[in-house]
Symmetry: C2
Subunit: 335 residues, 2 copies
């Protein structure tokens, strides 16, 4: 098994990606390829101890920046760390790719270089969503702003496979994000999506209202990419604002400060539950290869966890499982 | 000025609505009409002291239940507390109506009995959204799951008037909920909505990502009713889950319990910021009359605050301001 990491991607560059890679090698014994500027990568690598045969560098002279137009960047920057990494997976020289770089470019690269799995109309981002009860998977996290009913069926299938194989949830419960519980509620697209999901080959349990998502009401949260992106970002925003207000309230006077000190470990445990760096990145499911998008602001722990996640995705044959499930489905979901 | 309260509406019935009414009369000196079962209302009323000339009862023999089909209920239950209350506003005998009853029925009743303001295609719910910086108004909170571009312009106009006249925000900043900041981001409908809003007569400041809503990035949060409902309910769900986890963490051992005790007032202040009962209800803007939907689970404080809110809506001529603004706009927004 070999995992390729776009070592130039992300807000913090090689300093963080290389450290995450070293930690993953030491902790999980994985074999890695790093794509990027060889001199820069070696400069960071030489600071650490690790089994050197486990990290290979493939030099690339170019970088896709966050400001680059996705499709144009993939087409023109052939020697970028991201495109080279994608081609390594396409050519069978690596089993999975991780990048914390330009999201749009990575998704475009997934579609253009790896291609879609036959039978999948719309690959989708499937980040883990931390809940009160544990973790759910949300799909689509933002790859497809507008969706057709059949796309929701694909999301349900892929999300179920990911929840089962990677999160270890048996017979995961799948629900459609909607503004009411009963069938017939919602906007035009969710009404159609509900009908399509009723006959789909997964454990469909109807609608979930947004209010019940954080508690862990459903294992797989299915929605279009617009709604999914709103759900992810709003959750981040609400949690961030609550932490900010909480901190202010708890430091207003000396008694409160003392109280807060006594609660330090409790508050730390509390905050950890919402820490995205614990959960790796978001797989882009439905492309013909294992592709994980790490958060742009990933630190070394997030990179390390994304590598562990890629390892689990490979070990459990997530991509092949999706291929088989979609093949078995045959013409059923083709409109 | 006279405000009519559907005293049978809401999960807790007259016990709560009547107490809220009495408190509002004593605190704000308003004149109220209560619609509902006279005997039941008097039974609660007689427990309290208040200037009796300020509360009038209009007896109704029927109630619209939460399970009733909205349009059918409005058409058939002519003697229900909700329909009678709506007719009092229509006939000029009251200046505003408040109900905590069946939301769908209340919105249908608003449209069927009060009617739309000329030039408004889609009236919308406009609840207050508590933020870090203060309060924003979200429109549409769930009345219109599918929207046309012109509806977003109407929402922006009505939301701006409400933010200015009721929340006291000068030249309120209006943003469109979207999944990216730049123009051209989003799904098909938000791309069109953005174009329509650019030329609209309010302080349009582009897109807002859901992440930035809780901090108070924008005064008026414009979106379709599906997105709005997801935003409201998810905020409630995330906050609820965080409070639950926080409570667990803070009571895990005696030291933490002691620390939590020292923080009691701080935690209370913190929770109060997210307490919907502080903010009254959601006005249904765009109908030809002042209509406020109170939360189904409103307690007496929420009812009292909804009455105060109705008073401010009337005093500041919100309905007339919308009429004038839409009239001035003329043919501009008619497709």
């Amino acid at each position: 098994m070999k995992i390729v990491l776009d070592a130039m991607g992300g807000d913090h560059g090689p300093k963080v990606t290389v450290k995450g890679a070293v930690d993953a090698v030491n902790q999980y014994g994985v074999n890695l390829i790093l794509t990027g500027d060889e001199a820069k990568l070696n400069e960071v690598l030489k600071q650490y101890n690790y089994p050197s045969e486990k990290i290979e560098i493939v030099h690339c002279g170019d970088i896709i920046e966050n400001e680059d137009k996705p499709v144009a960047a993939i087409r023109k920057k052939k020697d970028s760390s991201m495109v080279v990494a994608l081609n390594l997976v396409k050519d069978g020289k690596a089993d999975a790719i991780i990048s914390a770089g330009n999201t749009g470019a990575l998704l475009a690269g997934g579609l253009l270089i790896l291609g879609r799995i036959k039978g999948i109309d719309r690959p989708a981002l499937a980040p883990v969503f931390p809940t009160y009860k544990g973790t759910s998977v949300l799909i689509d996290g933002g790859a497809n702003a507008d969706c057709k009913p059949r796309n929701f069926v694909e999301f349900g299938i892929m999300g179920s496979i990911y929840a089962e194989k990677v999160l270890g949830i048996q017979k995961p419960k799948v629900c459609l994000v909607n503004i009411g519980i009963e069938e017939g509620k919602g906007n035009d697209i969710t009404k159609e999506a509900y009908k399509a999901c009723k006959n789909a080959p997964f454990n469909f349990q109807g609608n979930v209202e947004a209010r019940d998502i954080p508690d862990g009401y459903t294992d797989v949260i299915v929605c279009d990419g617009f709604t999914g992106n709103v759900v992810l970002k709003l959750t981040e925003g609400v949690a961030g604002t609550i932490f900010k207000i909480l901190k202010e309230e708890l430091t207003k006077n000396p008694i409160r400060k003392l109280g807060a000190l006594m609660l330090k470990s409790g508050l730390r445990g509390f905050k950890k539950r919402f820490d995205y760096t614990e959960y790796g990145g978001a797989p882009f499911l439905g492309v013909n290869g294992a592709l994980i998008k790490a958060h742009g602001s990933s630190d070394e722990k997030a990179i390390k966890n994304a590598i562990r996640q890629a390892k689990i995705v490979i070990e459990n044959g997530v991509v092949d499982n999706i291929k088989n499930e979609i093949k078995d489905l045959g013409a059923d979901i083709v409109e």
